[in-house]
Symmetry: C2
Subunit: 219 residues, 2 copies
């Protein structure tokens, strides 16, 4: 019975995952944190909301992810609309921004031995042209279902990166409070029992939330 | 009295010029035609709404202006809101598009001896960052009041490029019909008496419109 419950929870969780990521909105910031966690799960050190000087102007970069020999700058495009597509203008301007930053770093001799790469990540989809341009320009793209072996769908499930918005045992207001505290993953919620208690949940309710969160993240 | 009338017309025309350019909307296409006429007045051969292949993808270019030794591609940003500013993302993506096209041309050995330049033109304003990036990247910018000696305000008045929307002697519907026929300048209207007649204007009314158009354009 426990196994059955576990399986049912996970299936329901996966089914609702796309919606759960949309529910990180309407502001784009929790999605940026979520993408930060994704890069962290691959061993990167992550900073969000950074200002980086380029040769011509200063740029606001959503996520900067660093690991030895590698430096990644990420633009996050959060859409509240399921059908929205990120069009070619976004990879075009990100590539331009990226080149502006790289030129500055080259001038200063910084990160010379590093592999520097730009990424655009969206919760919805990219247009054909956006994908064609990014592939040709060497810019990384991640969307809900692209690329097949590196999409949000793939990573969130593989790495157990279920956002708190996946939980059925929390209501909207409670989820929102977690997001506002910068706690975006079920995995992190499990370390923040206090916030649940502060929200007025009793031990039985907390245990229910923890059960669901554990089942989803496979812990 | 005629001179006084002439002066009054011109002053009123200049005063209303900014609004007249906004009245080219709500669609952005008449503004593209208007910018095409601006480049024509400097001796360029102009085509609007062109598809140009880049190295990575095909681009839709609003205005292509060519003269011996020179090739200009222009992106037009029409805003219906007076206070709108075109931000840095636009020159960033236009520079990227422009480089994509230039790389393709270099591969094919086309326009080798030509000076190739990109432009962004808006009826409203640019942000500081947009101007800083464009100046640094060598991209041309034209807005209502930038650059001082090459703004829309400057050019339209110097070159007598008054749009048909400047005319007080035509109503909204009549102006719209001219725009739909691709007739955007008072100067062109003067060669299209027939359309005024078709719109049901009598000789007296036509003569009034012609007077105003001549005064504005200084003909």
């Amino acid at each position: 019975a426990l196994l059955k419950k576990k399986k049912a929870y996970r299936a329901a969780g996966r089914y609702r995952l796309k919606k759960a990521i949309f529910d990180l909105g309407p502001s784009g910031y929790p999605f940026e944190l979520f993408i930060g966690r994704l890069f962290e799960s691959f061993g990167y050190q992550v900073k969000t909301d950074q200002k980086i000087s380029g040769k011509c102007v200063q740029h606001e970069v959503d996520v900067v992810a660093v690991k030895p020999g590698e430096q990644v700058i990420v633009e996050c495009k959060f859409h509240s609309d399921y059908r929205a597509k990120t069009n070619v203008q976004v990879p075009l301007y990100i590539d331009s921004r990226f080149n502006d930053i790289k030129e500055k770093w080259a001038e200063e001799g910084r990160y010379k031995d590093m592999n520097v790469r730009g990424y655009v990540v969206t919760n919805a989809r990219f247009t054909k042209d956006a994908i064609a341009f990014a592939e040709c320009a060497g810019l990384g793209l991640i969307s809900w279902d692209y690329p097949k072996d590196g999409s949000l769908k793939y990573f969130t499930d593989k790495a157990g990166l279920y956002p708190v918005t996946s939980l059925r045992s929390l209501n909207k207001g409670q989820k929102k409070e977690f997001l506002e505290e910068g706690i975006v993953l079920c995995r992190e919620l499990l370390k923040n029992e206090d916030l649940l208690r502060k929200q007025g949940l009793n031990e039985k309710q907390i245990s229910k939330v923890f059960d669901e969160a554990r089942y989803l993240t496979g812990q």
